[in-house]
Symmetry: C2
Subunit: 372 residues, 2 copies
């Protein structure tokens, strides 16, 4: 028996912090003179908000966005007291103490949130400042037009909110030609004009690529930092991949012609095959939709310098790769690589958004942060 | 302004431990006189292996299966020294110390793993016992037929492995009539006959429903414990739902006819609508495939006693519900409920396996364990 290189059965997610910082700088340069803040909600899109937050802080980022107060608390502990952390869901009654304790700025999405916040702040010295988030056409969270008028007219409320940012969110920024972009831009300018003079922010990653008209004083990308491409803009192609899923080979076996592979026997070996069983499955974020059946081979992984097809159904913990025609020796512990530069292609193969695939990758894998 | 009930923006995953224990007992009764072990890999299918493991231990379970040594270590700390914990991936070189330190039993899937394990155990007193896992037709991880013969003939190796379980895994147990079931059964009996006299195990949840021929000495369900239905058996319908995703209403707003909802403007309001923005999205395991577009409303959530449609694209943190025809007042903080008894239906709506959907639910939600 040859000496076996040391490896674990647990799959690894590599997060390249050098590429992350490069993407931050790329987007910052594109947005300049606007400032750049980072969306690190959902545990930094699954990549680990603590380490990612610190790396972005190290790259110069001082403004962060999370979805929930609890996420803000964790980030605050990671990056220290100096950065601004905005909570996109706004203040909710049960979380008020976290906002105060961790100096989190609520993104106010409604009159109710505004009034609740002001009330909660009354007994507090040095309450955090706030952002106002106007809904200009995504019709999701955010102050709706009819409430915007009330905000504009209630000067004492505005003053008590102590706002330091006015923002909105684009619905179609991934499609440069979509008419909703210019419509949201116009609506944003109109509503912002009725507010106190504070910095404005409209652009997510897609908005950065839409050009300087959309940048205002602050852009706040998420997916682009993490190497995710936004579809129809060539500049979006230039961000560097950040995340790869490495699935170690646990076993290599021969499968006889006529045998089936994996759950529900969806793939039949036409001839004798050689397969590698790798240790990553849908619990590690590898979508079942990447399974290869008799009807269709959907995708492949990188193994060394080659590509090898996924055959049979992706299961919770393991995936089967066809190495019949692999040129060379496959060692146990060798890593089959998913995503990375293939993130968009493989997400499309799974009929999923790259965002959604990315967000599920961090759940079980051991994360290894790479500095080049 | 009415007093707002206290709520957080963070979504909640409720895990009903009473139903979990009931499912354990239901499957145990069906399998008796065979014993029952529990598959708690992948953090107990996303529901939290520590609490789920303890609850199953409390219900009488003394045999557990995890995928990786690291999962076994966490489980061991949770449930104490007395239970058997088998690691399905088997021993991998980097994890050997964890096996010894946490008294984990490797499931041996190959000659290489067998020989590595025996070598590693040489200097160790009281090494854990092991299981042998034969591949009888899933052609995934497991000892292949040609290696089975070597195991049968190498008596010193078998003795050194100190096995206390011989197992295999069914590929098509969810389809009672699938010919691979009887084929695997026959192959399992044949290979087990060549092994030392130790307990045998073949049945996952689906295998329990296939009847006593498949039960041997130990069944080892996973999905059934967690309330997941296995498709074509009526007995599978009797397990109780265990897991619900509760998404709090953060905002209610009116959307004018002609406006679009959510990312990429995939849904257009034909008439004026009332919508609720709830705090859960694909980072919480709500699949983007549940989005409602102009082409098709895919699914609905429970809100109070009614059902309300998902409209627009499910985004990372938020989802939009159509409450135009909702009969009654929707309070902020009210919970829209996904999955539970709808797990199979909603997974099908998303073109996903219930297993896959369940596994992604625990990533960000606050878990609340319910004892009735």
């Amino acid at each position: 028996m040859a000496d076996v290189k040391s490896y674990s059965s647990r799959p690894v997610l590599t997060v390249n912090l050098t590429s992350l910082a490069a993407n931050y700088k790329y987007l910052a340069a594109m947005a300049a003179p606007a400032k750049i803040g980072a969306s690190v909600k959902a545990d930094a899109y699954g990549l680990g908000a603590v380490v990612v937050g610190r790396a972005l802080y190290g790259a110069g980022c001082r403004i962060f966005f999370v979805a929930h107060a609890g996420e803000g608390k964790i980030l605050r502990q990671a990056i220290g007291a100096k950065a601004s952390i905005y909570v996109l869901s706004g203040n909710t009654p049960q979380d008020t103490a976290i906002f105060f304790g961790s100096k989190l700025k609520p993104v106010i999405n409604s009159l109710t949130q505004a009034r609740d916040w002001v009330k909660a702040c009354k007994p507090v010295k040095h309450a955090p400042r706030t952002a106002l988030h106007f809904d200009t056409g995504i019709n999701r969270l955010g102050i709706p037009p009819e409430e915007a008028e009330i905000f504009a007219s209630e000067k004492p409320l505005l003053e008590a909110l102590d706002i330091d940012l006015v923002m909105s969110h684009l619905a179609c920024s991934g499609e440069a030609g979509h008419p909703l972009n210019t419509k949201q831009l116009a609506r944003f300018k109109k509503v912002a004009g009725q507010m106190p003079m504070v910095p404005l922010s409209l652009a997510n990653t897609g908005g950065v690529y839409l050009g300087s008209k959309y940048h205002f004083k602050l852009v706040r990308p998420g997916i682009g930092l993490y190497g995710g491409k936004v579809t129809d803009n060539p500049d979006a192609e230039k961000v560097k991949p950040v995340v790869e899923l490495h699935a170690p080979v646990l076993q290599i076996k021969t499968v006889k012609a006529g045998e089936t592979l994996g759950y529900n026997a969806t793939f039949t070996a036409e001839n004798d095959m050689k397969v590698a069983i790798v240790s990553a499955g849908y619990a590690d974020g590898l979508p079942v939709n990447l399974s290869g059946s008799d009807k269709r081979i959907v995708t492949s992984a990188r193994l060394g310098k080659s590509r090898v097809s996924v055959v049979g159904r992706v299961s919770m913990d393991y995936t089967i790769l066809d190495i019949t025609d692999y040129d060379g020796f496959v060692e146990l512990g060798a890593k089959a690589v998913f995503f990375g530069e293939d993130l968009e292609k493989q997400s499309a193969h799974a009929s999923m958004l790259n965002y959604e695939v990315m967000t599920h990758l961090g759940a079980r894998c051991r994360k290894i942060y790479v500095n080049e």
